[in-house]
């Protein structure tokens, strides 16, 4: 089998490549060039910096596997960055890393497997996939604390058939010690947290540069419609946000809602953040067979799953949930098994 390994330059994908090679597969490493700045400069933060690509190249050299940098800058710009901007402009809070998985890695790259005469696409995600002879299923990674099945919850049979996540079978300390034992230069590399195209600066300054129109001043009101002040543009706000609201009203206030049509930011008290459910968009079921009923729902990358019921395109929580932002992803689980995922279109009070 020939495996195309998406190497980000981190320890997880380094070990993923090593595991596949040691299992006797023919391995080809690739790094996707996703983003370059206005003058062609490579990102300095996130998962895809120049030094990350260099690390990936060196690890591939250590493993003695062919390695290539593939240009995905236009796909990334159209599929991820523009979406990121338009989501904020529309009052949503996007997750660009999930969008990148969805539109770039597990769509555009996966579709090129044949081009590279490769059978499977391997990534360094902490998640496990299983085949029962008929269907593929997706499960949380062996290391619950590092589990990344949430960001893969949009994968269906089509992708799972051709994707492999060898690192999901390992705990993070196991990954690091394997890398260390093999002398891989990424063994002790810290994890990246930033969004690659935003870098270490605030995402708002990125938006201000890329979508100045997103910053239309508008009113800040309380939940009864009383004006509390004004703001520079809804793109600077996220549901649940407490800091940087620029209003002093004694008691702590949070962004409870964003109304893009009127550029209004609605503030409320903590007890007004409660959400009974969400309306779902782009619902995906791992099995491909649809579903409904009781699930455990996880709406943050590292949040705990909470009991909920799916009724049509609605997900109703058993208990009120706080600070849920439209645009974010919700993943559905049955214990450790991923049932599917969806985007949060809007919240239901």
């Amino acid at each position: 089998m020939r495996a195309l390994v998406a190497m980000s330059g981190g320890v997880d994908s380094s070990v993923a490549a090593a595991v596949m090679r040691d299992a006797g597969h023919e391995v080809v490493g690739v790094t996707l060039k996703m983003w370059s700045g206005p003058n062609g400069e490579a990102p300095t933060a996130g998962c895809c910096t120049v030094s990350d690509a260099e690390d990936a190249r060196r690890v591939a050299g250590q493993l003695d596997i062919p390695y290539y940098v593939l240009d995905y800058t236009s796909e990334f710009r159209d599929g991820v960055v523009e979406r990121f901007v338009s989501d904020y402009v529309s009052g949503r809070t996007p997750n660009p890393c999930i969008e990148c998985n969805r539109t770039v890695k597990f769509d555009r790259l996966l579709r090129r497997l044949d081009d590279f005469e490769s059978d499977v696409l391997v990534t360094g995600h902490h998640a496990r996939s299983r085949y029962d002879g008929k269907h593929w299923s997706l499960h949380r990674g062996a290391d619950r604390a590092k589990d990344q099945s949430y960001v893969l919850s949009m994968l269906t049979q089509r992708e799972l058939t051709r994707a492999r996540f060898p690192v999901g079978e390992l705990t993070k300390p196991e990954v690091r010690s394997m890398a260390s034992a093999m002398g891989l230069r990424t063994a002790h590399k810290p994890e990246s947290m930033d969004i690659c195209f935003v870098g270490r600066r605030d995402y708002r300054s990125f938006l201000a540069g890329s979508a100045p129109d997103a910053f239309v001043p508008g009113p800040m009101v309380d939940t009864r419609g009383h004006e509390l002040g004004s703001h520079d543009g809804i793109a600077g706000f996220t549901v649940g946000q407490r800091r940087g609201l620029g209003v002093a009203v004694g008691e702590a206030r949070f962004v409870v809602r964003i109304e893009p049509a009127t550029s209004t930011v609605v503030l409320g008290r903590r007890d007004e953040l409660g959400v009974a459910g969400v309306e779902l968009a782009q619902v995906v079921w791992t099995s491909g067979e649809g579903g409904s009923g009781e699930v455990m729902a996880q709406y943050r990358a590292h949040g705990d799953p909470v009991p909920a019921v799916i009724e049509g395109d609605r997900l109703l929580f058993s208990d009120l949930q706080e600070a849920i932002a439209p645009g974010q992803t919700v993943a559905f689980y049955d214990r450790d098994r991923v049932l599917g995922g969806a985007l949060i279109a809007r919240t239901l009070l």
């Binding site: 080809v28 060039k33 190249r57 062919p66 290539y68 940098v69 593939l70 240009d71 590279f116």
Partner: protein, 377 residues
């Protein structure tokens, strides 16, 4: 591995390494000292310089040793723009190497007048266009002799003549880095004031090159320091590399005529096989006025990135044009300047042949490429 990327770099010719090796340990001297060890190094260096000068019809004082083509291009252009004359303008061509175009971008950013003229679909610069943008602020005109991506050879002597006729004070530089192996290079015949060469393109070591500077040409150094190279390029000499370059130049010069014939035949055979085997292939390299060793072709419907990966996995090395640092393939500015769309440029591949190329490997490579293109379509 069949290596068809000799325009990127080519192996050292036999004997070159042996000639330069002693200057790394036994004859390790700094050529600028007063003692015997230095004198021996200095003698070897100057002997190399004489040989290099003779190979291009220059005087020894006209040879500035540099670290390679990029440095030579930078020194020529910045040196001319920042010299004592009040002229600060650069005129160049859209198909130049990045070493020239990026230098132009830098100059533009700091407020210098920079004009980039276009080319026709074959890559030929329109001499009248070029001359018409020259004004009394123009310090230097820079035109590449042999294009690194397509192999197109400009009529440089005619360009120089026209520029000088317009304004004899304008300096003319040529990046001749790709040309030495195959083209007659005589600075008097070309008429240029400045010319860049890089040893590793003609069988010498990497990290060394030449900037030919016509006697009397005012050049501000880019690199200031100990005053080596008559103050034009400071820094301790790498005597071994200079010796290696001189020897490779000599070998390339002796081989030049045969190279044109021999390598031209291999390239021609490869091209014929591709044309016969790949339906719809387009040859980007113009039919006339081309080098014997470059071939740029387009495979409609096949992304060059994918093809180059597959070729590598199948043991054939080529490229999409000049190499970028990340290794990702980018849209060729040369092909775009010739009128190809970005999409067409992304279907184009450069094959380049060199002194060690053989007919057998060209035949085998043509078969592999033909087969891969068919599979990828």
């Amino acid at each position: 591995m069949i290596y068809l990327d000799h325009a990127a770099t080519t192996p050292m010719r036999p004997g070159v390494w042996d000639a330069m090796a002693p200057y790394t340990d036994v004859e390790f001297g700094n050529s600028s000292g007063i003692h015997l060890v230095s004198r021996r190094a200095k003698n070897a260096l100057e002997e190399a310089r004489e040989s290099i000068a003779a190979a291009i019809g220059a005087g020894t004082l006209e040879i500035v040793l540099t670290s390679g083509g990029t440095e030579s291009d930078n020194l020529a252009i910045k040196g001319a723009v920042f010299n004592e004359s009040a002229r600060r303008g650069l005129v160049t061509v859209a198909t130049e190497h990045e070493a020239v175009l990026e230098t132009g971008d830098f100059l533009r950013r700091i407020g210098m007048p920079v004009t980039v003229v276009g080319v026709d679909p074959e890559g030929r610069v329109d001499v009248e266009d070029l001359v018409s943008v020259i004004d009394d602020g123009t310090a230097i005109v820079s035109v590449m002799l042999l294009n690194n991506e397509t192999g197109f050879v400009q009529d440089l002597a005619r360009i120089v003549e026209a520029v000088k006729a317009r304004d004899p004070e304008v300096l003319v530089h040529t990046d001749a880095v790709q040309a030495f192996a195959s083209e007659p290079i005589d600075v008097a015949a070309l008429g240029v004031d400045l010319m860049s060469l890089a040893a590793h393109k003609f069988g010498g070591p990497k990290g060394v090159g030449v900037l030919y500077v016509r006697e009397g040409t005012a050049l501000e150094p880019v690199q200031h320091g100990g005053g080596q190279e008559l103050g034009r390029r400071s820094g301790t000499h790498d005597v071994g590399r200079a010796v290696g370059m001189a020897m490779a130049m000599d070998l390339a010069l002796q081989d030049r005529e045969d190279f044109g014939h021999r390598v031209g035949q291999i390239r021609g055979d490869f091209e014929k096989r591709l044309i016969a085997g790949v339906e719809g292939m387009v040859v980007n390299t113009p039919e006339h006025g081309r080098s014997p060793h470059h071939l740029n072709v387009r495979f409609p419907g096949v992304l060059n990135e994918t093809l180059l990966v597959r070729m590598d996995l199948a043991g054939v090395a080529a490229s999409a044009g000049s190499a970028c640092q990340s290794g990702a393939s980018e849209v060729s500015h040369v092909l775009e300047a010739m009128g190809l769309t970005p999409g067409q440029a992304r279907e184009s591949v450069r094959f380049s042949f060199g002194w060690p190329s053989t007919m057998v490997e060209a035949e085998e490579a043509a078969e592999i490429v033909t087969d891969l293109v068919e599979k990828l379509r």
